[in-house]
Point group: D2
Chain length 388, copies 4
């Protein structure tokens, strides 16, 4: 009989958004059981949140340190931890988890600063546990199909990678009007140095890299705070150059009215092109050069393996954000089980979950973009000197 | 601490489609725990399915009768049963559950014949337990918004209701080529008298009725089996007439290549019109007469209550079929909890889950459509003589 | 040096809609020169309209009889006549033109009554001149591609034909509020017996027939006047049965808010399906059964001949309604030139313009639909007794 | 009686694309009559082209100089000239036309080099004739609506302007395989210094400027030739900075498979946002911040004046590229007639046609982008030192 993985959570109390998402993702395929948590920085609020979630009172802890300490002593203590705090705590919590041999699922960005991320990645490399950074969008089946199409050479040599991630919920200065999500995201002491670039730019960057398989060599960024009084960037323009001569463009904005979660990727090569839109995730448009566009559909029998195994309901029955998120959790569960059984992760289905290296790469992107923008918008290398 | 509801399942073993959907739906909001099942008509296969699902071996039963008998004796026995068998067993299983005071979640259509459905509905009326028929599509938040728009008079007097539900997976005679889903659905002894009309026509019918709030008085149907050798209808055309003079059209087909799960509804009144498409469920188009179409979006702050409480992730992060299904399960859980607490269901959020009356109404539709078609495609009353 | 064809027009004065469309269509490819007209039933208004159009004052006539009489005497008199009056005059003007050997381009419907249409068609059969009925939508390049796909067997045996034509401009009783277009269209003495069924239902019917290549054997219609006080139908539901067992559904409405000119066709066969939407005419979706949908694009190099020769600008540069209309005019011009040169029309590009037989067929459809609806919505044969 | 304007054409012989577009545009509203031309650089081919177009043999000239000379001597000689040659001739032909007092409609880009453009603009400023540069896309009615929405403050302060113009027809090196359009466009001696940046980048730039009303102060460009062996850029990335702090991004590519003529504009402000896509030009999405998107439709009664007067057929009947092009021709005709009548152009409907100043501005953009890219992708001012 299959045993579900015992999960603890740090953050995700009342009023949070991403905590609830992680919980559904953990639960969706029945792979995890949430059994403990430090849901809030206040003991009472943490306990109340635990109650509402059906957690035993004793396992709703006042802080993560207490949770790690207490759970370690239990026979059926937690095996993995989901970190869903504001960004500035990611690295500290993760470090403590790694040091206790717990597997970690950490929301992006990996850390508040690049240095912190480097240190954490070094630690993780030597740790005995697994690490997933939840770049949600690579969990979408058709994003995985897109990656395989590129890898199989169906697009030929890649020449251009265009990605945009536009939202509008920060178009007004709601951080000063009581919106908690906005408040911490625009406060450097909680969000880290980057605003929009770290919150969603890093998603767009990872998506482009994941699908194209290309590593950019240099970037140029122009970040702006278009809302008066805002302390972090809310509109980010980035140009990218790849080793093979391909070019990339990335636009991330949280101040573009009419855009809810408009993440769109285009990858164009010598033999074909693809586009994918997160708001209509069950379609992938693929055009072989000179032929008609094909609309690849999630659940169709003609998809490759990575997409096929990441889907739950038949073609035409829409899947969405939670299912994509759950794919990361479920892939991570497979790795944990493999580690349990074999002493090492023998799952080889590619692509699986994003690792701490992807998280580190994302921080390098944020760090370099900030540096480029501060220097007036100049080209900066992403590899070489700036790498770990 | 909130206790999840203990759920048993009948049907849904390996190779089934809808069983897995019910399981995710039950799990998604953490409201239910699947603890028992009779997953297949063969004891070994039922046990194997239970194992794969993490069910205790002793609670994976060889048949539903055994499950009901054994669980009744347990202190923590099942409280509710999900029925996901082929259609011909729906009524029998449901009857047995009702007689033991168990709450029932039954897939559509309610029964194999209208007579069976009438009998079951009579039984349910006197039973002490709750009954949900899983017409999935009324679980979509924007379908609920649509219903409220109509009810609030935003469309004026309704004049036309257009609905189509087109699929293509039965375009070839795959029932004779080993496809199990197709095999039982095209076998009258398992599916009942209706093919496409019962399998998806009834969904379309319910959706139109749910949103428009109109009860049709008469229908005319022309059902066809367009695939040579098929024993049940696979293309269904229906005209409808409503009491207020409004007209309806319904097309259901499982033999329309290019259509995956193309359910589309249009409701048109004297002051405005709406359209909703299941394959893009996070948008509802609403046009006040003489003005520009508005694209209402799931998760937007300007939606009414029913849509607002049925949504999990922010605008722009797509939700889909599983979330809609989960909304039915979660609404049903609220009713069960209310019954537990108050001795009666005091939940009053409307719309909630579809009841057995909706299931009966669907069977009346199927029954009348079959009769109309057999008579050569003539008008037949849906109310009056034919009603229970 | 190519000579343009000298064209006269009946109707199309100030305030008319379709007259201007015919004029642009005639002019677009430089094939015609509008040199005369009886633009209004009032001599002054006809002259004023002619002036505004750059017509010599002497050739802006007070009525069509005067035009036909005077032009016949001119060396460079008109060769063809465009009839763009309200419906009730179509047949009378056309008859007079045919009797003088003039080629005719007549707007649809062909006549006010089926009897009138039969008589005219008989006359035309013996006449020496050519006749085009301007069913606009078969002028769209991708509609022509669709027809060729079907004819080439790419869809296999056709099983279902679904067509809708929805508008909303008659949702309120604007015919009593000074709208001239609405006034004549809802007045039986000018529009004929059919309202919506004749105005746009006949377009939908022709489109379905044109693309599918199928002739329906029987129909059943339920026509309604949903706007209180309206004298003709404004919402029309029709079921169709074809000789090969295929089924059809047609919905035409001018009272469906949110629909501007929403004409959509789906044709589904044993091997594949297609859909085309007039409001996005440069895309034709084609799905081979079991494969991904292909989006065929106007102007693409992989289209067949009929579409290729009907296009003016490259793929991605949208064409529209006027270009489709112009295709009919230009195809008709080719036939006229062929007749001039060879004494007979040797153009063989298929499909070309719709002929009087298509116009007659449209009237048979309207006539039978009205009869069916008046009888309460019963099946009536479209071939056999009712045919000419 | 209205007299059409006598038009001559330079370029546009067999095999050309844009010449035919200009001819239809001139003809569509009956405002011009093409009476003369120098259609090709070879006398025989020019004459043959003239014949095919119905031009008198004597007025199909071997070169533009001959045309200007001969037509000046005619009582009914040409009044305006359409210049549709490859780019390198634009300025020379235009200059000769201006010197003879002829009105000019010149395709974009205005000239092969910025210096040439400056000289021509200086000449034009003192000339007695009118000058239109055919930036097609500002002829679309909803582009005009978009401009008015911005100008009326409906979007608040503009913060970001995103524009892309992607094609795929130059994805392979077809210039070496006999494609004439590709050959001259990728040959610096005919196209000028810029490839994609001049051919379509300049369209995108003008569109962004036209709608936003903003003048960029600086740009940074990274141009690439992604097809091996290509002599001019075929993928262009540009960042823009505006005086008010707003940012812009422009991507133009002719090597992005799957894109036919994918021009898309987004303008985002503090109060709302709009998007417009050329391939679906009859829709303009407008979202007031915090409200549902509205889909503004060409032909709707709620549009402003500029859009209303630029439309020919009702809402829902698609218009396209040729109609947009014709709007420029027709607006220019109004200016010519006003000049005829009043001695000066008194038409004041804004926006009207793009002038030589817009053409010059486009050349400044191309020139600066090339300079920025050659310098490695650095910021360069667009105003100040670089201006005329």
């Amino acid at each position: 009989m299959k045993q579900s993985i015992r999960l603890g959570m740090v953050g995700g109390g009342e009023g949070a958004f991403i905590g609830a998402v992680h919980r559904v993702a953990a639960r969706l395929d029945g792979e995890y059981r949430l059994v403990a948590g430090a849901f809030a920085s206040d003991a009472d609020r943490s306990r109340a949140a635990g109650m509402a979630l059906g957690i035993e009172a004793a396992r709703a802890y006042p802080n993560w340190q207490a949770m790690l300490e207490a759970e370690r002593a239990l026979q059926d203590g937690i095996e993995a931890v989901a970190i869903v705090t504001p960004n500035h705590l990611h690295a500290r919590v993760a470090r403590d988890c790694l040091e206790r041999g717990l597997h970690v699922l950490c929301d992006k960005p990996l850390a508040a600063t690049f240095d912190e991320a480097i240190e954490l990645a070094n630690l993780a490399r030597d740790a005995g546990s697994l690490f997933c950074v939840t770049y949600t969008y690579c969990g979408f089946p058709l994003v995985r199909e897109a990656r395989e199409l590129v890898a199989a050479g169906e697009l030929g040599e890649i020449r251009a990678v265009q990605v945009r991630y536009a939202q509008d919920w920060l178009s007004a200065p709601i951080e000063t009007a009581g919106n908690r999500q906005a408040a911490w995201r625009s406060d450097p002491s909680q969000a880290g140095e980057g605003g929009c670039i770290a919150d969603i730019g890093t998603h767009a960057y990872h998506l482009a890299r994941f699908v194209s398989g290309l590593e950019p060599q240099a970037l140029l960024a122009d970040l702006a705070s278009v809302v008066p009084g805002r302390r972090l960037d809310d509109n980010a323009q980035v140009l990218l150059r790849y080793a093979n001569g391909a070019r990339g463009m990335l636009w991330a904005s949280q101040t573009a009215p009419g855009n809810a979660n408009n993440l769109e990727l285009g990858v164009y090569g010598s033999r074909g092109g693809i586009t994918w839109r997160q708001e209509q995730p069950d379609e992938l448009w693929f055009t072989p050069l000179g032929d008609s566009p094909r609309v690849l559909r999630r659940g169709a029998s003609n998809l490759r393996r990575a997409a096929a195994v990441s889907t739950r309901v038949p073609m035409g029955h829409p899947e969405g954000y939670l299912e994509a998120f759950a794919n990361l959790y479920t892939d991570f569960a497979a790795a944990i089980r493999s580690r349990r059984t074999h002493g090492t992760d023998r799952t080889q289905h590619v692509p699986a979950f994003p690792t701490i290296d992807d998280g580190l790469d994302g921080m390098r992107f944020v760090h370099t973009a900030l540096a480029s923008s501060r220097a007036g918008g100049v080209w900066m290398p992403l590899r070489g000197a700036a790498s770990r």
